[in-house]
């Protein structure tokens, strides 16, 4: 058996895909704390909510870590600033302090967090790049002075809008960190930051260019993965016999973490129990579909908000955002986010950022909760109703409709058409390893539908009878490609060969202007065939030449798709970027 490789958890230091909310704030186990401090500023910035950060942070951080020398003793003084700073943390301790081995590091972590908040709010409001910030910082030059300037800039940025609690640590850091610094550096740089904040809500034109997704976590880089592993809450066991072709994605085995996490339930108090529960449900696979996952997550966040109380010396906005961040990072560890969840988180953070100081805490909380409710209602529930109404117009008497797997939206469409007394048959196509079509089949048969059930290999056989195909999607990308359960592409391809129209039903909040892949799932699910006694691949892990690959999603090219039904109407796949552009920003600006 292969030696266990380090588990692959998302390393927040490294670039992540846009809407991925950040992992836990960076690792304490790094050698130089101050070296890490600036990097923490950079990388959590890059990881935080704004989906558009381009972190050159990696290079800067590498460079900075090389330029260790000075900052180390400096920062150790920072650490030596113990109790006064640590007391300011308040009732809510950042997740790192629990994860990290040494409690003395909490102050620096907090500072890092503060830096994160400011960057966060600034950048998120602008939807602008940390590339901007990092452009203010030198990317190439591993200059200690400049890196500390960066820290100061961030701290300066704190000043205009925040509480004293924030500036206090900033100020402690400032004198400590700048024994030899130029004094004119920071004010100049901070002045560049301040105008950004005053710029208004719309990102300036030149920022739109930087709207590119940061590169993803490189799971094939051992050093990063090592560090990530030390930081993680859940212990993901590295998949045995990894598939080489997918080294860039996390491959792990399920099953171990559940009991682990359950035992830790009462210890991890940085994560709200509601979030913890949802995370466990994700991990166990109890909640499966992107709509349900999204709703469950948002409702968990509602509870978090309700139970939240602002610690003293902090703003609600920033503190709550960081709490949400840590919750999200926990959820990511349980199961990577789907695109719809990412969009929802983005919305939530924009709402939080809009909270002004004028509102009291309870007002803000009710405001947020009602916003979440409204989001769920508008974007999911009502959107579903509108989509159903549109799609039903495409069902005629005598149709034979094919659907794949189990999509709640398609099920609603079928039920509604049935209520309207349309006469049609349904073909349910299913595939391994989840066999989710059987649940849909059961529900349909109970309602009295006339159904046919096959497996995906038989699709060519059954396609002759089929008149239309309705499919759900996890996301639709901006070039019209549909990102959905694995096997959808095969169905669409065979349908195209037989000239059968394919209709994709998808709410518009799932549209996305980028590409993302979910991870590879549990490979054990392939080895075990239910109901068979002689599973010949039972000991697959023991055989070194054998790998099992269980993909979760696949991508359907746009020319196989005839039409996409959204709540804005029925559009061809080529019009998806239009929807993203016209309707994508609006929920942020409400």
């Amino acid at each position: 058996m292969e030696p266990r490789r380090p588990s692959r958890v998302i390393d927040p230091k490294v670039r992540k895909v846009g809407f991925f909310t950040p992992g836990p704030p960076p690792d304490r186990t790094r050698s130089g704390p101050a070296a890490t401090t600036p990097t923490r500023n950079q990388s959590p910035v890059s990881n935080s909510l704004s989906p558009v950060m381009i972190p050159p942070a990696r290079h800067a951080s590498d460079n900075l870590s090389r330029a260790v020398g000075m900052p180390v003793p400096v920062a150790s003084q920072l650490h030596a600033h113990p109790p006064a700073d640590s007391l300011q943390v308040g009732s809510y301790t950042p997740s790192d302090s629990v994860i990290s081995a040494s409690p003395t590091r909490s102050p620096s972590s907090r500072i890092g967090l503060d830096g994160e908040f400011s960057e966060d709010s600034i950048n998120w409001m602008k939807r602008s790049n940390s590339g901007r910030i990092s452009a203010a910082r030198p990317t190439g030059g591993p200059d200690l002075k400049q890196s500390v300037e960066a820290l100061i800039n961030v701290a300066e940025g704190n000043k205009p809008g925040t509480t004293s609690g924030m500036s206090a640590p900033a100020q402690t850091s400032k004198p400590v960190n700048k024994p030899n610094q130029k004094k004119d550096g920071p004010p100049m740089v901070s002045s560049t930051i301040v105008p950004e904040r005053k710029g208004g809500d719309k990102p300036p034109e030149k920022d739109r260019k930087k709207d590119m997704p940061p590169p993803r976590m490189q799971f094939d880089d051992k050093s990063r993965v090592e560090k990530a592993k030390k930081r993680s809450v859940t212990k993901q066991t590295e998949a045995r016999n990894r598939v080489e072709l997918f080294r860039h994605l996390p491959q792990y085995e399920r099953g171990n973490q559940l009991s682990d996490l359950e035992s830790k339930f009462f210890q991890l108090d940085h994560v709200h129990p509601a979030v913890y529960k949802v995370g466990l449900q994700f991990l166990a696979g109890d909640i499966m579909w992107s709509n349900t996952r999204c709703i469950a997550m948002l409702q968990a966040f509602q509870k978090v908000i309700e139970d939240y109380s602002t610690p003293s010396e902090k703003t609600l906005a920033r503190d709550l955002t960081s709490k949400i961040n840590s919750s999200v990072s926990f959820l990511i560890e349980c199961r990577p986010l789907s695109i719809s969840m990412g969009n929802a988180i983005r919305f939530l953070k924009s709402r939080i950022a809009k909270i002004t100081l004028a509102q009291t805490e309870s007002e803000a909380k009710t405001f947020l909760c009602s916003d979440i409710d409204r989001y769920i209602n508008e974007k999911i529930v009502l959107a579903d109703k509108v989509i159903v109404r549109h799609a039903v117009t495409k069902i005629r008497d005598g149709d034979v409709l094919l659907t794949y797997g189990s999509s709640s939206l398609v099920e609603m469409i079928l039920l509604h058409a049935h209520e309207l007394r349309r006469q049609f048959r349904v073909v349910v196509v299913d595939s391994r390893p989840n066999l989710e079509g059987q649940q849909l089949l059961r529900r349909l048969v109970e309602k009295g539908f006339s159904c046919t059930y096959t497996h995906i290999n038989a699709v060519s056989y059954i396609m002759h009878e089929v008149t239309r195909i309705f499919l759900g999607a996890a996301s639709v990308l901006s070039n019209g490609t549909v990102y959905s359960t694995v096997g959808t592409a095969c169905i669409a391809m065979v349908a195209h060969a037989h000239h059968v129209p394919v209709l994709i039903c998808c709410e518009s909040y799932k549209f996305h202007e980028r590409v993302q892949l979910d991870s590879i799932c549990n490979p054990d699910a392939i080895a075990k065939v239910p109901g068979r006694t002689n599973n010949c691949l039972d000991d697959w892990a023991g055989k070194e030449n054998l790998q099992l690959l269980n993909l979760a999603y696949d991508v359907t090219p746009s020319d196989y798709v005839s039409m996409i039904v959204t709540e804005h109407g029925m559009i061809p796949p080529t019009s998806v970027p239009v929807i993203v552009r016209e309707y994508g920003r609006e929920h942020l600006l409400i």
Binding site: V243, L245, D430, S431, R432, P433, Q438, L441, R442, V445, E446, G448, F449, S450, C451, T452, Y453, T454, H455, I456, N457, A458, V459, S460, Y461, I462, H464, T485, V486, G487, A489, C490, M493, V494, A497, I526, A527, V529, G531, R532, N535, C536, L537, W540, K543, N545, L546, Q547, L548, L549, N550, L551, D554, V555
Partner: protein
């Protein structure tokens, strides 16, 4: 004769109940059965070939009717018929050419002998043309005239010549049977050895650092891949499971036993993975005359995906799988629906089935087809015992192995 009846009956039952499956197995058994029938068949002195053909056709009709989807059975029957006709033809040509010592020179004999070669030559020419032409009125007439001539010649001799002729014909008939059985033995050997011959060509097609995709399990494919492995080609194999029988698992186990890097994927992931694949290599159940393939279910999907990504789709098939028929609606007519229990447990759905509204037709229908039809335009290459061919070339191979008269196995109603 009773022996053969029992054997035939036994084989028919096995076919009907699908106890024997797989083209190689059925082909071999059919050939052996027919060999037994031929060796035990008592054939008349005149027109032995015709008698043999009739006998084989009768049995063949029953065999094909027992399992119409198992095309290999019909193929072997037609091959044997072709062998009979060929052997008969070659015997006649040698009879014309070589001196026949047993013939006594006599007036009548001379007449007969003179008559005979003339007709034989015509018959030879006709048969030679037959190989390339579908049955036409002319061949039918020549056949009839030939048999009439034989009859005529046999009736116009006296006893002594009869005896000589009968010994002559006896020896010729024994020779016919003997030759036929020899050739049928060769056929059986060919069927058994098709894997090796196909595997020999593996090295030409599999190169280094390739990724090969296959679905389900096929002995030919295993041998093919292992032959390439033995020649020290390094490559990886992605095996799609092949629900609902999951033969892909068996194939994977076999391959790793022989030291090949294998990855098992679900069938639904084929489209996602095919862009990373260099070649798709699959086995076939049967190959039709137009180059279309009857393959295990799911391969049409793979072929479409391969076409989309411009990945070569290679089909390995022994010649005994080549069927001289053209397919019409093969998805339905040349397909078999298996038990739904492979897909669904009845117990799981019995409760919701009770709430049917009684509209007359069943609410839940489970389709579990066994085969898929892959049209010839999706196939890049056929690799057979005697080399690689285009799908558009397969119809020419039919002429080598089958006679035009045998395409329809139903006997003409006795007049």
């Amino acid at each position: 004769m009773l022996d053969t009846h029992a054997l035939v009956h036994d084989f028919l039952n096995k076919l009907k109940r699908r106890k024997i499956e797989g083209s190689k197995g059925t082909a071999k058994l059919t050939a052996e059965l027919l060999r037994t029938v031929i060796s035990q068949q008592r054939i008349p002195n005149t027109n032995q070939a015709g008698a043999l053909v009739d006998a084989i056709k009768a049995i063949g009709e029953q065999l094909v009717a027992a399992n119409p989807v198992e095309l290999a059975v019909g193929n072997v029957v037609r091959r044997v018929l072709h062998i009979i006709r060929e052997e008969d033809l070659s015997l006649m040509t040698s009879a014309i050419g070589g001196p026949s010592l047993s013939v006594i020179s006599d007036d009548e004999n001379d007449v007969d002998r003179d008559d005979y070669p003339v007709l034989s030559a015509a018959a030879v020419a006709a048969s030679a043309r037959n190989a390339l032409r579908a049955p036409s009125l002319q061949t039918l007439l020549e056949d009839m005239s030939h048999s009439a001539a034989v009859h005529h010649s046999s009736s116009s001799v006296d006893d002594s010549e009869e005896k000589t002729k009968s010994t002559d014909k006896n020896s010729r008939s024994r020779k016919l049977k003997h030759n036929v059985i020899e050739t049928v033995n060769e056929l059986i050997q060919d069927i058994a050895a098709c894997h090796e011959q196909i595997a020999e060509q593996a090295v030409e097609h599999i190169h280094h650092n390739e990724i090969i995709l296959t679905l389900g399990s096929s002995r030919t494919v295993i041998e093919f891949l292992c032959a390439a492995k033995e020649k020290k080609r390094s490559f990886r194999v992605f095996v799609a499971e092949g629900a609902p029988r999951y033969e892909g698992h068996i194939l994977a186990k076999e391959l790793i036993g022989r030291g090949l890097q294998t990855t098992v994927i679900t069938d639904s992931a084929v489209f996602a993975m095919i862009s990373r694949v260099n070649m798709v290599i699959v086995g076939a159940h049967a190959v039709m005359a137009n180059g279309g393939v009857i393959a295990p279910v799911g391969l049409n999907m793979v072929a479409l995906a391969a076409q989309r990504h411009a990945v070569p789709f290679v089909v390995l098939a022994g010649i005994h799988k080549l069927c001289p028929l053209y397919p019409h609606k093969p998805e339905v007519l040349l397909n078999e629906l298996r038990a739904p229990s492979e897909l669904l447990d009845f117990g799981e759905f019995s409760n919701c089935m009770d709430s049917s509204t009684g509209t007359g037709f069943p609410l839940l229908h489970v389709a579990n087809p066994a085969f898929d039809y892959v049209p010839p335009k999706l196939v890049s290459l056929f690799i057979t015992d005697n080399g690689g061919h285009n799908p558009s070339y397969m119809y020419r191979l039919i002429a080598d192995y089958y006679s035009a008269d045998d395409l329809v196995l139903q006997r003409k109603p006795a007049s």
